[in-house]
Symmetry: C2
Subunit: 328 residues, 2 copies
Amino acid sequence: MNNQIKIGIVGYGNLGRGVVAAIEQSTDMEIAGIFTRRAPESISVHNPNLKVLPISQAEEWKDEIDVMILCGGSATDLPEQGPQFAQMFNTVDSYDTHAKIPEYFDSVNKAATESGKTSIISVGWDPGLFSINRLMAEAILPKGETYTFWGKGVSQGHSDAIRRIEGVKGAVQYTVPIENAIESVRSGENPELSTAEKHLRVCYVVSEEGYDQAKIEKEIKTMPNYFADYETEVNFITEAELKEDHSKLPHGGFVIRGGHSGEGNKQIIEFSLNLDSNPEFTSSVLVAYARAAYRLNKEGQTGAKSVFEVPPVYLSPKSAEELRRDLL
Amino acid sequence: MNNQIKIGIVGYGNLGRGVVAAIEQSTDMEIAGIFTRRAPESISVHNPNLKVLPISQAEEWKDEIDVMILCGGSATDLPEQGPQFAQMFNTVDSYDTHAKIPEYFDSVNKAATESGKTSIISVGWDPGLFSINRLMAEAILPKGETYTFWGKGVSQGHSDAIRRIEGVKGAVQYTVPIENAIESVRSGENPELSTAEKHLRVCYVVSEEGYDQAKIEKEIKTMPNYFADYETEVNFITEAELKEDHSKLPHGGFVIRGGHSGEGNKQIIEFSLNLDSNPEFTSSVLVAYARAAYRLNKEGQTGAKSVFEVPPVYLSPKSAEELRRDLL
């Protein structure tokens, strides 16, 4: 028996692979197993010591795994897996359907409270680190406005929407924050800005041979909800260019609060991320919060939590004394 | 009896006045009294309802005050007042002598543990919000470097050092982060940078009549510890200009972590502040953490804490449900 925190991973897509990479950077954790719905032998992992197991066997690992990191999607995987795994394991997930978070929290909370486990939901950067910054900035400067900008980064939902258009062979959509809007917010002017006034949508599209590019461009730009309300730029490129220049998943963004104190002194708080790899960063956040879930559970703090309820000290492998001495 | 959190303020300088202003923006708090070592009648407060009392009477308010915010300085006030008030009250302070934080924590912790009170030490932005960001960024991206830049802002210590030079009538020193250094850090290059390579020192000086400005300038630029190692700019101005253009106390800065995930993807986390009034902002942070001290104590979490041990949810007057619904 060693003292490493034993982590299980449910789901081996971009997020799951990112969790493996993040744990390899962590001195106090190790991977007990990867659980998948696919045939385990169909999954290739770079490290031959990693066990890949059918998800149906997860329950047998109840006593071997300290925290299960759920790497499934919010649409169909997590609403089922969240409460199901919370009956057996401490869990961490990146549930991000904002409107349904209260409902999801309740269902995971019920399961985790009954099992005496600790589940931290909606972990990542938004929801996650951005949320913490919104909360803290508003609590510190109650008079003011908070702005969230996303990008520059790939939006999977918008890229998929373009790919569904007839005659489109491939597409990537970048959400790009508008520089003038950021500058206005940073100056403390607290402008009124809609989401569309804060972001451009820049599309790189590969068309099928024989299709009218002007027609495709018009179809994109007039697509309701996704593009119609936004300034949208459409660029046609070759399939080779798409693969060469647009296969990474960068992202990032800004949370800025323009507040006032005393007799109208402007006070600006800003948090920003500039990420080469969105899934790898989200995974890194999940791993730090897995450490927190483990410790909260050891302390008897059971049930569902959001990032709001987690003290920063639990995220670090260092002791509170060390952290006060070196980082405070 | 109402449900407001009742706050006492010890010390009525820039910070104490900032606390009054911040509580006036808070819906769930009220000021029970201001405690001073000066003659109470010598202190003018803009609101006639505010009680100003001699510090010797503080103990009589033990049962009336939920949290005492200690607004004294770190050199001589807090080492004495911190443990003393923790014997009677929940407290929050902005102790900022980095090297002595472990010792200060221990002395406050002993007092607060014995009294069953909760004391949050070293609250503000550095130590404080910057510390939290250093901790979280390092925990999330263990491979990488963290950089702290200060400014543009007034350094009281450096301004005082100039004022002690013979022939100097008045002076203000701004610490200014070097733009190229910030850009290099933001790009993820993780350069090696000393404090001097990150900051300029810009001085505005009023000389006494009959003194040699060139001699004063040389004395500033060669002053050990304060200026000798830095690029330092000295500007002579009139007393009227000093008063007109340099009487505010702006400050701010940046905490940037350049990390790597997976196969060398760059991930940049940045937190920054741009403050018109450094003391008013520090006070606003103190007030949010006073709310946390009150709640932690209600929960039985006694003893000394740093900002690292405080869950974000305790800073906000809103409920956890509301916060999950609106800000997560």
